[in-house]
Amino acid sequence: MLKRALAIVAILIIGYWLAQGLSQVPFGQDKMLVGKYYLEHVKEQTGAVNAVTAVVVNYRGFDTLGEVTVLFIASTGVGALLWRKKRKRTAKTKGSVVLTTGSKLLFPFIMLFGMYIFIHGHLTPGGGFPGGATIATAFLLMYMAFTIYEIPHKGFEVTEGFAGMGYVLVGLIGLAIGGYFLFDWIWQTWHLGTSNVGRLFSGGFIPVIYTIIGIKVGTELSGIIDNMLKEEVKE
């Protein structure tokens, strides 16, 4: 009881202190030093209509590369910690016919929608991460509906690796063509789609990178689900 009271008091003090700091940050005022530049130049410099994806993939693409790596580490870490020589799904209760049939029917639709999200990253809200997560949801649905369903492991791992290498390769091509790592060569050197802003074939390398990220995130999250659902079998 005393412990809890002390904890509450401590949290209140920290909360008050944080609120003090926050109250001095000007909200709603024009404090956009860098932000304004992005808004004013995003279309001509990157060809993306969606300013968020332009910032995330193009201006600050280095951060996104890092985030993709973080996700990769998470799935590798889970894989390393749950590794056993032989593992199998041990689920017992079968789903009802309505559930299994429904899932089978839904699966392609979810996949399609996920791909739609990451392909249109430069035009509509979303991008590689939500698109990839949606695709992983489709696989989760299959895992939940069927007791024996399993993704093809080797294929998924290799795809994940190739997707990650693809991202770095796009960056290295930028280094070779434009002189900078992660340089948008499609837009700034080749000028592909410059007359096409706002349509599908525009946005420089943003759609390319988002497709790669979408595939990578989709396979990674599915891999995590797969790893966590399987249990060791003793012989």
Partner: protein, 493 residues
Amino acid sequence: MNQVASLLIALPLISAFFVPVLKQINKSLIKPYLVLITLIQTGIAGWVFKEVYTTGKPIIIYAGGWRPPIGINLYIGHFAALFVLIIALVSFIMAIFSLKAVTTEPIDKYAMLFLLLMLGATGMIATGDIFNLFVFMEITAITAYALTAYNKTGEAAEASMKYIVLGGIGSSFFLVGVALLYGATGTLNMAQLAELANSINPIVAQVGLALIMFGLAVEAELFPLNAWAPDAYQAAPHPITAMFSAFVVKAGIYALARLLYLLQKASGWSSLLRLLVIMATLTVVFAELSALRQKDVKRMIAYSSIGQIGLIALAFSLGTQAGVDAGVFHMVNHAIVKALLFLAIGYVGLTVGGTTMENFEGLGKRMPLTALAITVAGVATVGVPLFNVFWSKLKIILATLQAGFFWAAVLVLFASVVEAVYYFRLIHRMWFMGGGTRIKEGAIAGILIILVAIIIIIGVDPAPVWNIVVKAGSDIFNVANYVKNVPLMGVGA
């Protein structure tokens, strides 16, 4: 041409992503592949080091070709060039050690995590953007969590759990601090933050800075937030422990120092320094006293390592040029000594089976070269003249006295005496107790001897290294120069 230095980041990444493909081709190639990649990385780092120190100008990498603060820039100045080289070298040595030391499956995942740990630390040291620092810190921390638990024993899982919870809280505080600073200034670039530092509202600056310090202190193992460290050091695979001690912590402590000195114009800065001095001194005292009672040698060295880190933190938080130089010097020395010590102890643990005190009895007769290496490293850590750590400890204590913290210097000296007690106890056990027959020492002994030679060379003639270190130190301390070197676009200002 200089932009090629971005390979320091790109190479470990693309090679880590290639491992799953390599695994399908031939699994036995993975460990040699790890050695090869770290060797190439060492080569690139060596080139960057040479480039920076001969031209005297930092290499600025523009990711995506955008000038800061629009894009993210990497700043490889004197400090970063030196430390990226150390990171690559230690990783290379540990990759060789991993050939023998790590036999637990799955080896492909180990290789990926190993490369990404190296990448994360390199990025933390090199980045010039505060949010990018957070991303690289996450990469380093999450690989560290996974690698701590890699051995899959009960205690490894527990150690990793503690680390995850503390690290998670720490990094979320760091993120809140970054958000506050961004809210107050409108920029994330470190150079521009330094320019705008004195215009930040005092309360925001205080809260934001304190949150960032708190977040980084978890990674940097400062006193109240370092409870995870000894467990994690003990439970992690041997090469990984050496990497933690040699550069992962240092990346955290460097980030702390870098941000601290960048924002030195912000109000409330000096009180923060005072707090850090207290935390650092307590870290030294508590760690050394805890090491005194340990029965496991690896754990004992882990506590000793935390104590040394506290000493570096103390040097950095003095707020003077002399202190920063001494801190960087100690970072370099400690990286060499602790890499050697954890390598040797890991090697003993591997051959004898376990790292408890009893296993070290009579080691002088069974594995003389390894015992010699442990002895030299132990004596060096205590700070005996003619060994490298003596010079850096001396400089730190002199700097502390100059800055007027008499009590801190006394407490740190006292801790050094404690340190001497447990190191000499270990050395006594190795050479004058027990016995046994000779065990054949393999190629690792060669690496140990090279490291011992480096320790003694620096100890006898510290001048060349000291010259490098002074340049690296002014890279951190001389903020005006840092800001001048980063070509900021005139956005908003």
